[in-house]
Symmetry: C2
């Protein structure tokens, strides 16, 4: 009875969070700039009401008493997640979450213009405010959860994640990747790339839609739009994907749509019965990125899929020298250190993430301040990848929306997701020996059926490492990831 009441109350919270998610999607895709102020205020108000509901006095007792009730395994796990959410929320005040939401919404709205103008100095007061409010949150959460502030943030995006777990994995990558990159680049010398023909936004949109349909995206429960930064938002029953188009390079948007489709398929595969409860939601953002990167990196960058893509481009846009499978391989497998994380290849990408992770750790440990970011950024870019954006901060520390909108502690999940994806692929190869052939034949049903059964349908019933262990019999293994990279990029 207590449990039922908690579950019903949680449904209301889920509806409110859904409304806030819709406002946020609209803010990034539809909202005229002048709507920014009322939008930020309204989102702060809703966050405040969410907070009130999530910290209501009666919850403490009900959460205790519900433990005595006869519950099945999913209900038990759900109760545990509800209790944890309550405990974490209690560490914050309504005044704080309203202030934080307003500050971060305004900061996110302000960011594009400063990025465009490479104006770090102009943006500094705004990003200092955003960091300040996140530091406050991290400290409050950390105190309540018995974690360091930065671990509290890591945990918030991917339950159970700690620096102690991440450090050795990233350390191995940091020691291995630069050499690997150099070796691969040596082998790739002389690779030539034929430029893609110009393609209108309309043409690229249609191309994206047809690829999403090929993969099985359910357009009765989702749509594709345009935003400055691609993302997957909304709700499993109404998933909102976005991308952005470069009319001079259709290859960029294509892969980002496929990436976001991976996120969307995870959402659309979550257990229907539990969608409004924590146990029915995605485990965390490393888990989420594992699904997008499984589709993007493990599937869409593989030769069988590049063959599909080649046929598809020719069919939709006509014959063009750039549409051969060889040229697509040259485009997507070429390793080339650059400034921009989202445009980077599979091998250099983790170095971008590690750079951000190290800066974030030092910021939250008080070893550096926000003011120091550009210098640190540029010197690490030089060290890690041999490139330096100098004063062009729009190509440097201003390139990502994450910090302006307060997503500190999120970046590691991209690379952890890539590792999980590699582990999942290894197991899938064992379970579906004919996978490559199926992909070549454009039959994605067995693959998604495997992902649903082994990953999506579990919701948050287990955490990511438990789930991975259940699926593959092993914990997250950085060597599986490195093996994948070597086998794809190094000639024997």
């Amino acid at each position: 009875m207590h449990y039922d009441k908690l579950q019903e109350h949680q449904q209301k919270i889920s509806h409110l969070a859904y409304a806030k998610g819709q406002l946020s999607w609209d803010e990034s895709t539809m909202m005229p700039a002048g709507g920014g102020e009322i939008r930020a205020k309204a989102m702060a108000t809703i966050e405040g009401i969410l907070h009130q509901n999530q910290t209501a006095e009666w919850l403490a007792e009900s959460l205790e008493k519900a433990k005595e009730e006869p519950l099945n395994a999913w209900q038990k796990k759900n109760l545990g997640l509800l209790a944890e959410g309550f405990h974490a929320r209690k560490a914050l005040s309504q005044e704080f979450v309203e202030r934080k939401t307003y500050i971060l919404s305004k900061s996110e709205q302000a960011w594009p213009a400063f990025k465009k103008n490479h104006d770090w100095k102009g943006f500094l007061p705004t990003i200092e405010k955003a960091f300040g409010v996140l530091k406050e949150k991290a400290e409050l959460l950390g105190d309540a959860l018995g974690k360091t502030p930065y671990d509290a943030l890591l945990h918030q995006y991917e339950p159970g994640l700690t620096m102690d777990f991440v450090d050795p994995l990233f350390s191995k990558l940091k020691n291995t990747l630069p050499g690997l990159i150099q070796e691969v680049r040596g082998q790739q010398e002389g690779w030539e790339l034929t430029a893609f023909p110009e393609a209108s936004v309309e043409e690229q949109y249609k191309l994206s839609i047809s690829l999403m349909k090929k993969l099985g995206f359910d357009f009765n429960h989702g749509r594709l739009d345009t935003s400055a930064h691609p993302f997957c938002g909304g709700d499993p029953r109404d998933v909102r994907l976005t991308t952005r188009y470069d009319t001079k390079d259709l290859s960029t948007s294509l892969m980002s749509v496929l990436h976001e489709t991976g996120h969307a398929m995870y959402e659309q595969g979550l257990p229907r019965k539990w969608l409004d409860q924590p146990v029915g939601k995605a485990i965390g953002m490393a888990a989420h990125e594992s699904q997008s990167l499984f589709i993007e990196m493990q599937i869409c960058l593989s030769q069988p899929f590049l063959n599909i893509l080649s046929r598809h481009l020719t069919q939709k846009l006509g014959q063009h020298a750039s549409f051969t499978a060889e040229n697509l391989k040259a485009r997507y497998h070429r390793v080339s250190p650059g400034f921009i994380r989202v445009d980077s290849d599979e091998l250099t990408y983790p170095m971008h993430v590690i750079l951000r992770y190290e800066i974030e750790k030092d910021l939250f440990a008080g070893k550096m301040t926000v003011k120091d970011i550009p210098e640190r950024w540029n010197s690490m870019m030089q060290e890690f990848l041999g490139v330096n954006p100098k004063e062009q901060h729009g190509l440097g520390c201003l390139q990502d929306v994450h910090w302006p909108c307060g997503l500190f502690g999120y970046f590691p999940d991209y690379t952890l997701g890539a590792m999980i994806a590699a582990c999942l692929r290894k197991q899938m190869n064992k379970d579906i020996p004919t996978l490559d052939q199926q992909i070549e034949e454009e039959d994605f049903a067995p693959m998604f059926s495997w992902l649903r059964k082994n990953f999506h349908e579990h919701g948050s019933h287990m955490n990511t490492r438990e789930l991975l262990h259940k699926v593959s019999g092993s914990d997250l293994d950085v060597d599986v990831y490195l093996d994948h990279l070597k086998s794809r990029y190094l000639k024997p």
Copy 2:
């Protein structure tokens, strides 16, 4: 102090209502069909939270005590509106408003398919449910406000409106218009209309945007999209207009965009300082329709604007026989009884409204049931306009979204709005003798400046009749409206 607290609390309510408005806009413009169930549930939850906030226990005492505080005229009026809103809300329960919101949202979602298939029988259980929940609301509100159920609904859309006020006005129209229509049709015999060239959605969208810009719509605080039924939603700081396009007849969408722009200009002209308080919102829907119809009927159907439109179409789409001012006049001034309210001309339009008004009155007085609607509809169409949709209910009683989404009591506001617009135009002609010339020269600034000063900026500080009296020295006068119609449509 009590007043300040009330005002702050109201701001939170306004933010929540804004969020609900955004969800509703998205539902009509963007949402994939499969998102309907969670959308309806979420909107019901938010309506419930709005209700909780609007009926909180402490409000009763604060509303009383605030009366003793030193307040200026706007604050006093605002307090009065807050008290009235509280009183009306108290008549309903949270359970009821959640149920009502869910039922109406689902009913609105279900309507288009039944309309398309002329399937009255199939839609009957749904529309009976929608009417049932509205009847329940009307009775609860009526009891609390000391009004009949239908008067309570009229009042909700346009404060102070009663059947006693509407009946004699509509009775005069009902007695005058059929004869006038016949006379005008006789004079128009032989009028020929050149069909418009086909125009793509993209072309029509661009045309719409350029006309909205011409009128002064602020795109930094609003946008134009597509929906099955044109509407103006959103917030004064982010106004969301919609239209629908017929590629075979660009004239339909054009005028509907201009109509919605009239709504939008009212919203964008409301007093900035008060936007989140009841005193800063539009007075009611008759007032709102007066602004859309002022633009559509009083301005855009006038000869000077048809001249502009002729030049504009030629400039944007090239020379075409249908783009002459004469042909535009033949298109927009031709009186021709038809099935569809939104496609009808200025003279027959009120008959469509009176038909709906009479059906609604009888439904709420228990003189007929929902089952009787089609027969009653068709016989009144025959009587009023000499046309009969028979079993094609999509062209008959299923044509409007209003009843499916619960807007009983709204229709009269269209024709009252047209009357108010005529009265405003009469006064404006006195105050701006060179108005026609200014319009011909595409100078709309003096006109909007007059509307802002005399109408928009007053928010809800006065009700519509008080405001009209202040502006023109007279009450709403049906003869001013009839004079306008005669002078436009009857040759001397």
